[in-house]
C-alpha cells in the first residue's frame, strides 16, 4: 500500500485515505460556449497515457477532504511529488513518453 504525502496535512499517510481524481492541469475552458466541437471533445475525453511521470489529481477524501496534485511514475508506481492545486507541476526526473505500447517483455 502506497504512502502519500498530503501537501495540506503535511503528512505521509496510507493510500486508503486517498482517491484518484484524474489527470491534473486540465483547466476547464473559461468560456465553453466558444469552444469548437473538437476543442471541447479534447477537454472532455482526451487524456495522456504516459509511461513515466504523470501529473494527476488526488483527493485526501478520508482526511482533510482537499484535492491536490501529484506527480507519479506509472511504471514504478512511486510518487515523485505532491503539491497544492494551482501550483505548477515540478520538473520531473524523467520525461514520460506518450504512448500506448505494452511494456516490453
Amino acid at each position: 500500500m502506497l504512502l502519500i504525502h498530503c501537501p495540506y496535512c503535511k503528512e505521509k499517510l496510507p493510500e486508503l485515505e486517498f482517491e484518484y481524481a484524474g489527470q491534473a492541469h486540465i483547466a476547464r475552458p473559461d468560456n465553453p460556449a466558444e469552444q469548437t466541437d473538437a476543442e471541447w471533445r479534447d477537454y472532455l475525453f482526451i487524456r495522456s497515457n504516459v509511461r513515466g511521470d504523470h501529473a494527476e489529481q488526488w483527493r485526501h477524501s478520508h482526511g482533510c477532504g482537499r484535492y491536490f496534485n501529484a506527480l507519479r511514475n506509472t511504471v514504478s508506481d512511486k510518487f515523485i511529488a505532491t503539491y497544492e492545486i494551482g501550483q505548477a507541476c515540478p520538473t520531473s526526473h524523467a520525461e514520460g513518453e506518450e504512448n500506448n505500447e505494452q511494456l516490453e517483455s
Binding site: 460556449a33 484535492y67 514504478s76 492545486i85
Partner: protein, 1000 residues
C-alpha cells in the same frame, strides 16, 4: 508402528504420542510431527494422486513448497473442512482427520488413472485443440465432463465456522526468515536496540539449522546455541518473534503481509480464538532471509512415491527422526545431496549409489563416500525408475555423450534422493519489481536493482554454506541499521563443520530413451512433463509467459517453486537461446496458498458492509415492514397487513394515499448544505436550472449533469436564505454529488466563497402525500401558515413541527398535495409517531419505497439510474424545461450541442401502454419493431420502469426507445419469456396530466 523412526534423531516429543486418521485408517505420530512426517514414519509414501494423469504421488519436499502431498483436513464441527492442505506443513494434533484427494474409488485403486495410460492424448494444449468442435458439444458435453474431472480437491460445502483477525504493525526492521542469515541479522539488530520483527513460517526458529546441524556454533552444539539465541531474542523488549507466520506478499513502501496461523496445530483451540491473523507490517527496513529452494532433477519417473528432494530427506531425518526408506539411491548435480546421503547413511540407511551427473566431483566428497562404503557413480545418469505406488529401483548408466548413456544397470531401492541444486527464494523481492540478474557461473537469478528499502541475505543471494549465511545476515543488518541512521557492532558467528558446495544446472537428465516417451515431470502438481514444454516451444510459444499458459507449468499451488527454473532451462534449450534471454515468469503474492478467511479478516457477516438505518427504521421493523437495500441503506419496501402479499399491499398503499393520505420515510435522501456569499453563483454553475431569482422560502427541481452533458442526479433544492441552499440528491447519489461539487469548487472555482456540508444524517425526513396531508400536519405546525395561498406548491418554511425545529417543504413526488418535514434526525421517530396517531383520523397509510415508485411513475417522474443510464441527456428525458436558457454556462451545457447529442434517433424516454392492460412488462425487457421475429432482432431500446397502476386499473411502463418521441402513439413489441407483448408508445404522465391535485 513407527518402525521408520530413527532413535536419537529429530526434534519431536517422543513422550507425547498423537493419534490421527488418514483415509479412515488410524495412525500414531508424535507431538512436533507434520502429517507427512508421521505418515512417512508409518511407512506411508502414497498420499495423493496428481491432477491430470491421476498418478500416485507422495511428498517430494518437507516444506511449504510441497506440490504433491495435498490432503483434505478437518476437525470436529461443521465448516472446518479444508481442501489442498499441504501434508508437509500441517502439524499433527490429537484427533486430526485427513483424507487424500483426486481419487475414486480409492487412493490405491483409482479409475481416473486411465488418463495416465492415455497420456499421449493429453499433451500440452490438449484442451485447446480437442474440445473445439462440434460447437453444440461445448456446453452439453465438454464443459460438464471437464468440470467433473478437473479441479483440485473438493470445495467445502459449509460456511467457514472460524473467525480471522487482522492487525497493523509498524517497526524499524522486519526480518523474513529465521535461518542462519535471519537469526544473525536479528541478533545484530536486537543487540543494537533496534526495533525488530522476526517472522518465520515454521513452528520453530532455525531454518536449515533444524535440518542440517553443523557440528558446533561458537563452540557450542547447535541445539544449545539455537536455544540460547531464541531465549535471548524472545526476552528482548525491542524484538517481536512470530512463528507459523508466512510473509505472503511484499507491497509498496515496505508493507509486508504476514499470515500467521494461530490454531491449526491445536487439538483444542481456545473458544473464540481466531484461526489466523493477517498482519500488515510497515517496516522502515526489510531483510529478506528466505534461503533457497532445492530443485528437482528431470528424469523418467521422477514423480514416483519415494523419489524426494535430498534436502527434504535430511529434514525428515534430522528434524522428525524419520528415515524415508531402507535403501536410497542418490541422484544429483550438486554437492549438497552427498551430505544428505552421508546423514542418511550415518543413521543406518543403505545408500546403494550416489549417481552424480557431473564429470568430476571433489575428492573430499568421494573419500567421505568411500569411508561409508557408498559407491559413487560420477558422470552417470538415472534413465528410469521402476515401481508405481512406491519406487522399487532405478536404472542408471554412464553418460557417454550428448544425451547418450552406456553400461546401463539396475539398482533396487525403496527411495531416491534427488538434487538439481538450489534456487534462491526471491519471490518477495520480485513482488517489489526488484530486478533479477543472471549469475552465469552458478546459473541462478540473483537480486539486482532494488525498488524498496530491502536487503537480501544468505541463500537468497546464492550463498550456500551456513557460515556464509551467518556472515551475510550480519552484513545485511549492518546495512539496514546504517540506513536507519544507527550504527551496529559487528557480530561474529563461527560455524564448525560447515558444508560448502556447488553444482550445475541440468535440463532433462541424459538418457537413451525416446525423449517424447519419457515421463519426466517438471511441474508435479499440474503434470507438466519436459516433453510438454518442448512441444509448446515447437508449436510456437516463444515467450516463457506463453509456455507457462500453454502447458500450465508453474500454475500449480506451489506457484512454480519446484518447476520454474527447470521449465525455463528446458524451454531455453529447445529455443536455442541463453536462459536469461528467455526470462522468468512473474512471481505474484501470495507466496504460499492463503485462506480467503485470512484476507477477509473481520470483514464478514454483519461487518462485511455497513447497513445504514434511519431514525424511523425501528418503527418500520416493529410494524412489520418488508425491507429492501438501497445503496447502503435498508429501506421499508412495503408494509403488508395480515394476508397481504406484496402486490396487494402496494395496491392498497397506493389507493389509500391517493384517496386520503400516506406517510413515507424519506430520510435517506441525500442532503447537502450549500452556504456562502457565492452560493447562488455556485448553484448556477453546477445545476442546469437558474437559481439567482429563486426567492428565499422557495424551492425548485434541480437537474445535475456531468460535463459530458448526461444526467447525473436530480432532487428538490430549497433556498433557505440568500446565502443558503438545502440541496437534496438521490439516495444512492449523495456522496457522488458532493464529491463532484467539491471537485469543481476546489479545482476550478477556488475563488467562489462557498462551503459544502453533507447533512444527510442531520435530518429525518417524513413525507406526507394525499388530499388530507395538510389536515394531518397542520395541528403540529407552529410558525408557518399552511394554507394554499400562504404556502403554495414548491414553498418552504423554517418552523416548528411537533415542537421540533423543522424545515418544511411543500413538494410532491406523487402528484398529490405533499409535504416533506425535515427535523433533526434524532426526533424522526418521535414526530413519525405523533403524525401516525393523528393520521388515524383520516385512515392514513404508511407506505414504502415500492408504492413511492409506483406513484411517481404514474406522474412520469424519473428515477436517475433507473430511467437514465449515464447516456441520457435532459432532452432525451423530456426535461429541457429544467434548463436555464439564459444562463451562459453550467456543467455540461457545452456538451448538449455536440453533434451526437442532437441526433433525432437518440434513445428517448417515453411511456408504454400494453395492449393487454393486465400485463406488467419486465423492467429491462428489450423493445423491437412490431412483428420483428428475426434472431437477433434489432433492439430499439428497453423498458426502464414498469408497474401495476392501481389508480389507472392497468399496467404502465416507461422505456428508452430510439427516436421515441417521433414514435408517439405507434406500437412496438416487447419479447419476453413465453410471449411477445405489443404496446403503444405514449407520454410519460399517466395520471392527472394537468396537475390539478397538487394545487389543493
Amino acid at each position: 508402528m513407527n518402525n521408520w523412526r530413527v532413535d536419537g534423531k529429530g526434534r519431536i516429543n517422543r513422550d507425547k504420542r498423537v493419534r490421527f486418521t488418514f483415509d479412515g485408517v488410524s495412525y500414531q505420530g508424535y507431538e512436533g510431527d507434520t502429517v507427512a512426517s508421521a505418515l512417512l514414519a508409518n511407512g506411508v509414501h502414497l498420499m495423493g494422486r496428481s491432477f491430470k494423469y491421476h498418478r500416485p504421488r507422495g511428498p517430494v519436499t518437507a516444506g511449504s513448497e510441497e506440490p504433491n502431498a495435498l490432503i483434505g483436513t478437518s476437525r470436529s464441527g461443521t465448516g472446518r473442512f479444508e481442501p489442498n492442505t499441504r501434508a508437509t506443513v500441517q502439524e499433527l494434533y490429537e484427533g486430526l482427520t485427513t483424507v487424500s484427494q483426486n481419487k475414486w474409488p480409492s487412493l490405491k485403486f483409482d479409475v481416473g488413472a486411465v488418463n495416465d495410460k492415455l497420456h499421449k492424448l493429453f499433451a500440452a494444449g490438449f484442451y485447446y485443440k480437442t474440445f473445439m468442435w462440434p460447437k453444440s458439444f461445448w456446453d452439453k458435453v465438454y464443459e460438464p465432463v471437464i468440470r467433473a474431472s478437473a479441479g483440485l480437491g473438493v470445495s467445502p460445502t459449509e460456511p467457514d465456522a472460524d473467525t480471522y483477525a487482522s492487525r497493523y504493525l509498524h517497526t524499524e526492521l522486519l526480518i523474513v526468515g529465521a535461518g542462519p542469515a535471519g537469526l544473525a541479522a536479528a541478533l545484530t539488530a536486537a543487540r543494537n536496540g533496534t526495533e525488530v520483527v522476526l517472522v518465520d513460517e515454521n513452528r520453530e526458529l532455525g531454518g536449515s539449522l533444524l535440518s542440517e546441524a553443523p557440528s558446533a556454533i561458537d563452540g557450542n552444539n547447535t541445539e544449545s546455541w539455537l536455544a540460547e539465541v531464541i531465549t535471548e531474542l524472545e526476552a528482548r523488549d525491542n524484538v517481536r518473534v512470530m512463528t507459523r507466520a508466512t510473509a505472503i506478499g511484499y507491497y509498496h513502501e515496505n508493507m509486508v503481509g504476514v499470515a500467521e496461523k494461530l490454531t491449526d496445530h491445536m487439538a483444542h483451540p481456545p473458544a473464540n480464538a481466531p484461526r489466523e491473523r493477517m498482519w500488515r507490517i510497515r517496516a522502515q527496513e526489510v531483510i529478506l532471509a528466505q534461503g533457497a529452494l532445492e530443485r528437482p532433477l528431470v528424469f523418467d519417473g521422477n514423480d514416483r512415491p519415494g523419489v524426494m528432494m535430498a534436502g527434504a530427506t535430511q529434514t525428515y531425518l534430522n528434524r522428525y527422526g524419520v528415515k524415508v526408506g531402507n535403501a536410497a539411491v542418490v541422484v544429483t548435480s550438486h554437492d549438497s545431496a552427498w551430505y544428505a546421503a552421508f546423514d542418511l547413511a550415518d543413521a543406518g540407511v543403505k545408500i546403494p549409489a550416489i549417481v552424480d551427473v557431473r564429470a568430476t566431483v571433489n575428492e573430499y566428497l568421494q573419500s567421505e563416500a568411500q569411508k561409508r562404503g557408498i559407491t559413487a557413480k560420477v558422470g552417470h545418469s538415472v534413465t528410469s525408475v521402476s515401481g508405481t505406488k512406491r519406487v522399487s529401483g532405478v536404472k542408471i548408466g554412464r553418460i557417454s555423450g550428448d544425451q547418450q548413456v552406456a553400461d546401463i544397470s539396475s539398482i533396487p531401492c525403496d527411495a531416491v534422493l534427488m538434487s538439481g541444486g538450489w534456487t534462491p527464494s526471491l519471490h518477495l523481492f520480485s513482488h517489489t519489481k526488484g530486478s533479477l540478474h543472471w549469475d552465469e557461473e552458478n546459473e541462478v537469478f540473483l537480486p539486482g536493482e532494488r525498488t524498496e528499502r530491502c536487503h537480501i541475505a544468505g541463500g537468497g543471494r546464492g550463498l550456500w554454506s551456513q557460515q556464509a549465511a551467518f556472515d551475510d545476515g550480519v552484513h545485511a543488518a549492518q546495512q539496514a541499521l546504517t540506513s536507519l541512521g544507527q550504527s551496529a557492532q559487528a557480530l561474529s558467528v563461527d560455524v564448525d563443520g560447515d558444508r560448502a558446495g556447488s553444482g550445475v544446472v541440468m535440463e532433462e537428465l541424459p538418457s537413451n530413451n525416446d525423449k517424447l516417451a519419457r515421463r519426466a515431470f517438471v511441474d508435479f502438481q499440474n503434470d507438466v512433463t519436459a516433453k510438454d514444454i518442448r512441444l509448446a516451444v515447437r508449436e510456437g510459444m516463444l515467450s516463457i509467459e506463453h509456455v507457462k499458459r500453454f502447458t500450465t507449468n508453474g500454475m500449480a499451488t506451489d506457484q512454480g517453486k519446484m518447476s520454474n527454473m527447470n521449465g525455463l532451462k528446458i524451454a531455453a534449450d529447445e529455443l536455442g537461446r541463453p536462459t536469461p534471454k528467455v526470462g522468468l515468469t512473474t512471481f505474484r503474492p501470495p507466496y504460499t496458498p492463503t485462506t480467503f478467511g485470512t484476507f477477509a479478516g473481520y470483514h464478514k457477516d454483519e461487518l462485511f458492509e455497513v447497513t445504514r438505518k434511519t431514525n424511523i427504521d425501528s418503527w418500520a421493523e416493529e410494524n412489520g415492514a418488508v425491507f429492501e437495500p438501497v445503496s447502503l441503506w435498508r429501506r421499508a419496501w412495503y408494509y403488508p397487513k395480515a394476508g397481504e402479499d406484496m402486490h396487494a399491499a402496494v395496491a392498497r398503499e397506493c389507493r389509500e394515499t391517493r384517496a386520503s393520505v400516506g406517510m413515507f420515510d424519506a430520510s435517506t435522501l441525500g442532503k447537502i448544505e450549500v452556504v456562502g456569499p457565492d452560493a447562488a453563483e455556485f448553484m448556477n454553475r453546477m445545476y442546469t436550472n437558474p437559481w439567482t431569482k429563486l426567492a428565499a422560502g422557495r424551492c425548485r427541481y434541480g437537474l445535475l449533469l456531468g460535463e459530458d452533458g448526461f444526467i447525473r442526479d436530480d432532487g428538490v433544492i430549497g433556498r433557505i436564505s440568500e446565502d443558503r441552499f438545502h440541496v437534496t440528491t438521490t439516495t444512492g447519489g449523495a456522496a457522488r454529488v458532493l464529491t463532484m461539487m467539491e471537485h469543481f469548487l476546489q479545482t476550478e472555482w477556488p475563488d467562489l466563497d462557498v462551503w459544502l456540508t453533507s447533512t444527510t444524517e442531520q435530518w429525518s425526513t417524513i413525507a406526507l402525500n394525499g388530499p388530507n396531508a395538510r389536515k394531518v400536519l397542520e395541528p403540529f405546525v407552529k410558525g408557518a401558515d399552511l394554507s394554499a395561498e400562504a404556502f403554495p406548491h414548491m414553498a418552504l418554511r423554517e418552523c416548528s413541527v411537533g415542537s421540533f425545529e423543522a424545515r418544511l417543504f411543500r413538494v410532491s413526488f406523487t402528484g398529490e398535495l405533499g409535504f416533506e418535514v425535515n427535523v433533526p434526525s434524532e426526533h424522526g421517530r418521535a414526530l413519525w409517531e405523533i403524525l401516525y396517531q393523528e393520521g388515524k383520523k383520516y385512515d392514513m397509510c404508511v407506505y414504502g419505497t415500492e408504492t413511492m415508485h409506483v406513484l411517481r411513475a404514474e406522474k412520469g417522474f424519473i428515477i436517475v439510474g433507473q430511467d437514465t443510464d449515464g447516456t441520457v441527456t435532459p432532452a432525451d428525458a423530456g426535461l429541457t424545461w429544467a434548463i436555464g436558457k439564459k444562463k451562459p454556462d453550467f456543467v455540461g451545457k457545452r456538451s448538449l450541442t455536440r453533434p451526437d447529442m442532437l441526433l433525432p434517433n437518440r434513445k428517448q424516454l417515453v411511456g408504454l401502454l400494453t395492449e393487454d392492460p393486465s400485463v406488467v412488462l419486465e423492467e429491462g425487457a428489450q423493445i423491437v419493431e412490431t412483428g420483428d421475429t428475426a434472431i437477433p432482432a434489432k433492439m430499439l431500446g428497453h423498458v426502464t420502469s414498469s408497474y401495476w397502476s392501481e389508480a389507472l386499473g392497468r399496467s404502465i411502463a416507461m422505456a428508452l426507445i430510439e427516436g421515441g418521441f417521433e414514435r408517439n402513439s405507434t406500437s412496438i413489441d416487447v419479447p419476453m419469456p413465453g410471449q411477445t407483448h405489443r404496446a403503444t408508445i405514449s407520454g410519460t404522465v399517466f395520471y392527472d396530466p394537468d396537475g390539478d391535485r397538487i394545487k389543493m
